[in-house]
């Protein structure tokens, strides 16, 4: 039917190369997709939540919306926010806070990380630290809590080598200093209450009605924002008080 002469088929070695090229493309392209998907699987299987920066929207939406630019990291005065690595399991380049190493103590006053976020992964709906809900503090190990044992605390809260920073308003209103440079001498340890950046979020309450009983227990109140300052400053090892990321406050 057609008048156009058929083109002769390409020589065998050309055909073979084309076939091999196709297989290579399939294999290496598949490997790229596989590697990327391997990064997604842990997201699916993630049970525990990481502590996210202030204002982080729901975890699934947060992981979807984060563009992994680290602008939140750049504005944080205490460098509390770090970007996850592939060794962290999921969310390469997504920010989280390792509160025990360096908590958010709201040194910036104005939730700078939220203002810096270009995608709203940190919601722009809140503007005050009191409105933040990152999680909630919980007295994890009451038996080692110093106040619970009626003990005081003297010295550097986390030892001489601890690199974490905190802004002490009495020392410098603007500049956070190393916690190691600010030793304490307390008759009864109240570090979690003393250094909490949110008013009324935590208080020490007596364990018994006996006035001679020095023992107190830290009680977490509804205004707790889950910033992790108490977990960072807690002098026991491991910390007696921890943050449950993304948890909601419930009356005791």
């Amino acid at each position: 039917m057609s008048q156009i002469p058929k083109r002769p088929p390409p020589p065998a070695h050309v055909q073979q190369e084309a076939r091999r090229r196709f297989l290579r493309s399939l294999l290496l392209g598949g490997a790229a997709v596989g590697a990327a998907m391997a990064g997604w699987l842990p997201v699916l299987g993630a049970q525990a939540h990481r502590l996210r920066p202030p204002g982080a929207i729901g975890e699934d939406d947060f992981l979807a919306a984060c563009i992994k630019c680290g602008q939140c990291v750049q504005v944080c005065p205490v460098e509390a926010i770090v970007l996850s690595d592939i060794t962290d399991g999921f969310g390469v380049g997504v920010p989280h806070i390792a509160a025990r190493d360096q908590a958010c103590d709201f040194s910036c006053d104005a939730v700078q990380c939220i203002l810096a976020c270009p995608t709203g992964a940190l919601t722009h709906d809140l503007s005050k630290k009191e409105e933040v809900r990152m999680g909630v503090a919980r007295l994890d190990k009451p038996e080692i809590c110093l106040a619970h044992q009626g003990l005081g605390f003297k010295g550097q809260a986390r030892g001489a080598d601890y690199a974490g920073l905190h802004r002490y308003e009495a020392v410098d209103r603007w500049k956070p200093i190393p916690i190691a440079d600010h030793p304490y001498d307390l008759e009864l340890c109240d570090l979690c209450v003393r250094e909490c950046p949110i008013e009324g979020a935590i208080a020490l309450v007596p364990l018994s009605s006996d006035a001679a009983d020095k023992r107190r227990i830290p009680e977490i109140r509804q205004s707790c924002v889950g910033c992790g300052m108490c977990e960072m400053i807690c002098p026991t090892e491991p910390a007696a008080i921890v943050i449950d990321s993304r948890a909601q406050w419930r009356p005791a």
Partner: protein
């Protein structure tokens, strides 16, 4: 070459020799004259000498490397000295307070999050205009840090290949089109920016600014593949970011143009080019016009401009000569 053809070739179609009716009378006459003329051995030797010498010219490459390093250093220094000139990373940033967003990262986030974010709209519009003006894939060769490492890996690859220790294993150019679609669908379906896990551009940019990460092993792995197995594998056949910027640059005023008049058709330009299919026009008898722009996939890296001994390939800003 029409825009459609240019885009089709960028998306993986193999370029073909133009049909006879596509040639302008001038180009036709030029090709006939070239066919008729025979070179004397002296002329031949002179051309060989020129071609050889041209490989020593690195004007545009040096300008480009300098630009690439300065841009990336600005990100790093701006953070470390807290001067707030450029905040963020290549995926998204604020440049003196203005939102910038990488087109591919913004697309991934939008598909995963399924929300139109005003800051990303602002950021991508700015970036879109910027890269339309500057040539689209010029992002790849003038800004992307992976491109620079890949160029060094390529130099190694070419050296080893010349010694016959390795050989180049090509992939099909449609691979990256398939990957582009897969990663877009994956973001939409999983609600997670799947591609960012392996994006060497994002990984490198963040590692430079925020410190080294284990994610760099992905970059090292890619580079090793490119040195020993497949020349420029990632940028040439796989990276979806390249497609995004190629589409933007398809109609860019900044481009490389080819004028066949003085060309000896030695093909040195195609040997150094990341995307040699765009230089098909430089083959003997392939130019349909006396002056034609190079296709959408061109990264405006300038290697061909440097290597061309006859000045047949040049950068041009469309319409600028008319203005001046």
């Amino acid at each position: 070459m029409s825009l459609i053809q240019s885009l089709a070739i960028m998306l993986g179609r193999e370029p073909t020799k133009p049909r006879p009716e596509e040639y302008s009378p001038e180009a036709q006459a030029l090709h006939e004259a070239k066919r008729a003329s025979k070179l004397t051995p002296e002329q031949r030797a002179e051309i060989n000498r020129q071609t050889h010498d041209a490989h020593k010219v690195h004007t545009w490459r040096n300008r480009r490397w300098l630009t690439l390093l300065v841009v990336n250093l600005l990100f790093v220094l701006s953070y470390h000295f807290d001067v707030q000139l450029i905040e963020g990373a290549l995926t998204a940033s604020r440049v003196i307070g203005f939102h910038f967003a990488d087109l591919n990262s913004a697309l991934q986030v939008t598909l995963a999050f399924k929300t139109i974010l005003i800051n990303l709209v602002i950021g991508t519009t700015t970036v879109l205009l910027l890269w339309w003006l500057l040539g689209g894939r010029s992002f790849c060769s003038w800004v992307c840090p992976y491109h620079l490492l890949a160029e060094w890996a390529e130099a190694l690859h070419v050296k080893l290949a010349a010694k016959k220790l390795i050989k180049d294993h090509q992939l099909h150019r449609r691979t990256r089109v398939v990957l582009y679609v897969i990663f877009a669908v994956a973001a939409l379906a999983s609600g997670y920016t799947v591609f960012e896990t392996i994006s060497p551009t994002g990984i490198l940019s963040r590692a430079m600014i925020y410190g080294p990460t284990w994610a760099l092993t992905i970059v090292v792995f890619l580079l090793l593949l490119e040195v020993f197995y497949s020349r420029r594998m990632w940028c040439r056949y796989m990276c979806p970011i390249g497609i995004t910027y190629a589409v933007v640059g398809a109609i860019s005023p900044v481009r490389v143009v080819f004028r066949p008049v003085n060309c000896h058709h030695e093909g040195e330009c195609r040997k150094v080019c990341l995307v040699p299919h765009v230089l098909d026009v430089t083959k003997k008898g392939f130019a349909t016009q006396m002056h034609s722009g190079i296709g959408a996939d061109c990264t405006r890296c300038g290697l061909c401009v440097d290597v061309c001994p006859t000045g047949s390939l040049k950068f041009e800003v469309k319409g600028l000569d008319k203005l001046l």
